[in-house]
Symmetry: C2
Subunit: 315 residues, 2 copies
């Protein structure tokens, strides 16, 4: 199914909004793209980069006449944005989002959506640690999954249209229950970000090891964690505040398992450590085979060319 | 200072041993390179790849006549190897290692070293998640730090020679006290590996989220952790067993900080979360500026070329 949108409105033109705009241009699936952003620099950049035809401060002005509106702002800002655009939305238009939390989005945004607008929450599982319009790129969604979490009464045609839109942007799509989405993402994304932020905090607060030493010797593993810990702090604050229950549940499991490893180290139980450590390679191999990760060692960082080809990168 | 070695013996020809051999060939600093390995496949591979002139099963045969001997085996195997080569070592030769733990290496290996041999522990902070001779490459040590932890009575000339050797291989070098090394590496390498292994274990053991889902949606952050969790399980078992005290201390700090984040999430303290999350970008920037990490977003994975140049990669 091909998709053709006369006017696409992006509320927020950061990494995600800008990447949607670029992927949309690449696919040629929108006639006009406009955006709204509270940040004047972002609006200027979006116009300079040719991401959008118009950049508004007022989201209501951006959505006027738009067939599809996508909220590309932190989860905690979505309800207010939905309220602000409510009256300006075109009848029959689709309203969606890109938030990493879905149950709370559905609950907080839905009351602000008119009955003649199709509100369908969605979450493209893609991103980088960078922010702002210039960080966006057309390939961000290629081969990544976009999880769509329709409400009970979601219109089938609108759902098909949103699905086709994300597929046109390069994504693979999946329909999921919002509550289950939040549980899956808690372990595959939210808790990983939390522990990455946490180890950076721990390292930064030590008295026995200096910050200079942490930086200097970070190639031993620490640097890997700093990537996702360099993600946008507002976005992630909102994720944790809005997916509290699932995150705390998964964090509880993580802490239990960590206590078990701690005990094994304290008691010198090498057999147990070896068994546990041996399970991980299989999972990584499966992720690489599923096309969700590069097979190149060290993510291909500073590698000679012959080591970054798929054949050589395999263990 | 240029360094010239008539015969270099590598005990163990996995990722590290093979990379030393290749970097040595590139630098042209060893006349002859030989290895010992208990794994017959590794010995065969090392010869086929042209990494070494001779590959022995018996380490004593490999070290005969060698000016420099480097133990490139898991920390827990070093004492036995030192005992096995003791009588075969050439008088005046240098014996070193590449282990990620230094105090225990010094303590367990030293008793097996003859007084006429210069034993100097060292640790190149470099590696990938892959194993075996074919995983090695000459560039592994380029611009990475090699930490040398001399004993109290270490001969100055031998220390200069080992330092020059690592610099010839592309490394930057630092002299450090073994105990401090173990503390620094506990936070920059050992605890990161432990929590990476741990989250893979947690994700794998869930009942509410399937392994297939974890794999499918791993691009949300989880996949980053699977890289270091795919590291060699024997090597890492030995690291944790031999740097127990420092790892448990750092792990205690990590867990305290995690409890604090958990409390902030539970109580909905967005201000605190934002403040903590805001600190990380500065640290990552410093690591990139120190030349220890790529500036490309997403480690440069699946990025268009214009996003992986240093200028574009900056936030």
């Amino acid at each position: 199914m091909t998709v053709r949108i006369d006017k696409l409105a992006l509320i927020g033109i950061g990494l995600l909004g800008a990447s949607i705009a670029r992927a949309c241009r690449r696919a040629g699936c929108a006639e006009t793209i406009v955006c709204a952003d509270i940040n004047a620099d972002h609006r200027r950049e979006a116009l300079t980069l040719g991401l959008v035809e118009e950049a508004h401060e007022d989201p209501a002005k951006a959505v006027a006449g738009a067939d599809m509106v996508i909220l590309c702002i932190p989860v905690g800002a979505c309800a207010d944005a939905a309220a602000a655009i409510r009256d300006a939305m075109k009848p029959g238009a689709i309203l969606s989002d890109v938030g990493s939390v879905k149950e709370m989005i559905a609950r907080s945004v839905a009351p602000h959506v008119r009955p003649d607008v199709h509100f369908i929450p969605a979450h493209p599982v893609a991103g980088t640690e960078q922010s702002g319009p210039s960080a966006g790129f057309a390939e961000l969604f290629d081969n990544r999954w976009c999880i769509i979490t329709p409400l009970e009464n979601t219109d089938e045609a609108a759902l098909r249209r949103l699905t086709a839109f994300w597929q046109a942007l390069g994504s693979r799509t999946e329909i999921m229950d919002a509550k289950h989405h939040d549980l899956v993402l808690a372990i595959t994304s939210h808790v990983p970000h939390l522990i990455a932020y946490n180890i950076v905090i721990t390292a930064d607060d030590l008295e026995t090891v200096t910050e200079r030493e942490v930086i200097k010797y970070s190639a031993g593993g620490f640097r890997d964690f700093t990537r996702i810990a360099a993600s946008d702090p507002v976005m992630w604050r909102d994720v944790f505040l809005n997916n509290r229950e699932a995150v705390l549940e998964m964090l509880g499991r993580f802490s239990e398992d960590l206590s078990m490893l701690q005990r094994a180290i304290r008691s010198g139980d090498g057999k147990h450590l070896y068994e546990l450590f041996s399970r991980s390679r299989r999972i990584r191999r499966a992720i690489i085979d599923a096309g969700q990760e590069t097979p190149a060692p060290n993510f291909g960082r500073n590698m000679p060319a012959d080591k970054t080809t798929p054949e050589q990168g395999r263990d």
